[in-house]
């Protein structure tokens, strides 16, 4: 023992003072991390709570109506537009994901394709909106419509659908595919009847996430879907197609656009905007919680305890 002591530099023996200081610093930072985490939880609860309570506190029964003054029609448009957009993005996105997972070869082209998908997912939604405006309105001399808006939202959710499907396919055990191919099924049959059905829970989670984001989208709709709405629920009025709620070619403002337009509108629109924001918040919260719940269930099923 004495031999060691002679040899070592004195500074290297553990020093109580230094350790004490290091531990104090450690404790301070631990407190900081706890505070930041707490701050964000509080911020989220305060934010969500404020938006929802404020929205309903200032609401009058008229505001809930499905007519010119209420936001019912905007609510309907929001749901309908997202529904239309999913009709477009889900099949294309799932097929794209199938291509990436099962058909794309490991080469430069696929790498480029991956970068393209990344680019698409990082494009500002207003840029996608402008593209839609250019193609569906300016180039075709059309009026703003739910269809144009839903295509823009679909473009925005395509990368999510593609990567969700690809990841889901890749995480399947290889035995699924080999088993089916081994029975003489073609790759198409294998994908359609074995692989995709096995991916459905994950794809649904992706769809819910995409829908949640779609509800809140505004920048992409600003110049494509029209911000006002005028529909009639009485079928006799549908002689004029622009009054038919289910006509995708009519103008259709959404809740998010309603919230946005109160910013530019004159005073008095505040209560309506508050209510729109509150309903949007509830929609988005419930969809992301649902997605989170489903994801948890899928994980549990796969035996992943993380």
């Amino acid at each position: 023992m004495t031999e060691i002591k002679n040899e070592q530099t004195k500074d290297l023996t553990p020093s109580r003072g230094l350790i004490g200081r290091a531990k104090a610093v450690d404790r301070i930072w631990t407190v900081v991390f706890y505070l930041v985490a707490l701050f964000f939880l509080l911020l989220l609860f305060a934010f969500a709570g404020y938006v929802i309570i404020k929205g309903f506190a200032g609401a009058t029964p008229e505001m809930f109506r499905f007519d010119r003054n209420g936001i019912g029609n905007y609510f309907f448009n929001t749901i309908y537009l997202v529904f239309l957009s999913l009709l477009i993005s889900v099949p294309i996105g799932v097929m794209g994901g199938i291509y990436m997972a099962e058909y794309a070869k490991d080469n430069a082209f696929t790498k480029f394709l991956r970068i393209a998908i990344e680019t698409l997912s990082s494009l500002p939604s207003i840029v996608v909106g402008l593209f839609g405006y250019l193609i569906f309105l300016v180039a075709t001399h059309s009026q703003p419509s739910l269809l144009a808006g839903s295509i823009c939202v679909a473009i925005l959710s395509l990368p999510l659908m593609t990567t969700t499907t690809e990841d889901a396919l890749r995480s399947l055990p290889p035995s699924y595919k080999l088993g089916s191919l081994g029975m003489g099924a073609t790759l198409r049959q294998t994908i359609q009847s074995v692989l995709i059905p096995a991916c459905v829970p994950r794809i649904i989670t992706g769809v819910i996430l995409a829908a949640g984001r779609g509800f809140g989208e505004a920048a992409a709709l600003l110049y494509t879907s029209g911000s006002d709405t005028n529909i009639k629920w009485n079928p006799h009025a549908w002689i004029n197609p622009s009054l038919n709620p289910f006509n995708p070619l009519r103008r259709g403002g959404t809740l998010s656009l309603k919230t946005w337009s109160s910013f530019t509108a004159s005073v008095g629109a505040e209560d309506v905007a508050n209510l729109s924001a509150a309903i949007l918040m509830i929609l988005v919260l419930s969809f992301s919680l649902l997605a989170h719940y489903l994801e948890g269930r899928i994980r549990k099923k796969m035996g992943d305890t993380k």
Partner: protein, 253 residues
């Protein structure tokens, strides 16, 4: 407690939740000797090793009863902190685990957290540590290259250099060669024998030949119990306990 003992465990019991992982261990580890802990997988030898520098603190639900003394001072019950303990009792792990930093930074890390900042001092420590482990000539021209680029055997020796750079009193080795090829294993065994002049070494090993080759004392663990301890030669030639005999003759394990 004998005079030369570094570590003393008295009535040591350890639980992982409901699982009784160490059962009433009484054991002394002598200074400047190599003590080998052997036994089949799950026998508690690694768990015991980890109680010696409180790496068990990171295992959730781990509960310890009894005393573990380092130089006569209880490492769990006195004011000695886990940090201070680990600065005195270094550890080499089963998988070589260099930091994703340069070779130099790996060795300099320990001295740095002990407050050494001067470059000249750090340079010196890095050189002596690498020399001590016998890899200075091999590494001196690429000190600032990433340690992740080294082979497994080189990484493990670097990890040993990193451990000795802070002059610990004890070096714990948790199956340090199980992930290495025979030649690297031999080098590390030679190194361990060389190192016992300066350090107390406790080594967990799966490999009975290894225990036989390098250790002075061997302890045989089975199902959380310490079955037998003794001078390595005696234990391997004349095991007193039947279970020890069965294990070292390869009848189970």
């Amino acid at each position: 407690m004998s005079e030369n003992s570094k570590f003393t465990a008295r009535n040591l019991n350890l639980y992982y939740g409901d699982f009784h992982a160490l059962k009433n261990i009484n054991f002394e580890i002598e200074a400047n000797k190599i003590t080998a802990l052997i036994g089949p997988s799950g026998c508690g030898k690694s768990t015991f090793l980890k109680t010696l520098n409180r790496m068990n603190d990171f295992v959730e639900g781990c509960k310890i009863e009894g005393d573990v003394l380092l130089d006569g001072k209880d490492i769990y019950k006195t004011d000695m902190s886990a940090i201070e303990l680990r600065q005195r009792v270094g550890m080499v792990f089963q998988q070589p685990n260099p930091f994703p930093k340069s070779i130099y930074e790996n060795v300099a890390y320990g001295p740095r957290i002990r407050g050494i900042k001067k470059k000249s001092e750090l340079d010196e420590i890095v050189e002596t540590s690498l020399r001590e482990v016998g890899i200075w000539d091999e590494f001196k021209d690429r000190l600032h290259k990433s340690a992740l680029g080294l082979s497994g055997g080189q990484q493990q020796r670097l990890c040993i250099a990193r451990t000795v750079a802070v002059h610990p009193e004890v070096v714990l080795m948790d199956e340090p060669t199980s992930a290495l090829d025979p030649i690297s294993t031999m080098k590390i065994e030679d190194l361990a024998v060389e190192m016992k002049k300066k350090y107390t070494i406790v080594i967990v090993t799966h490999n009975m030949q290894q225990a036989n080759r390098i250790s002075d004392t061997t302890a045989f663990f089975l199902l959380g119990e310490l079955i037998e301890t003794g001078a390595t030669k005696d234990l391997f030639l004349n095991p007193k306990n039947k279970k020890t005999e069965e294990y070292i003759t390869g009848r189970f394990g």
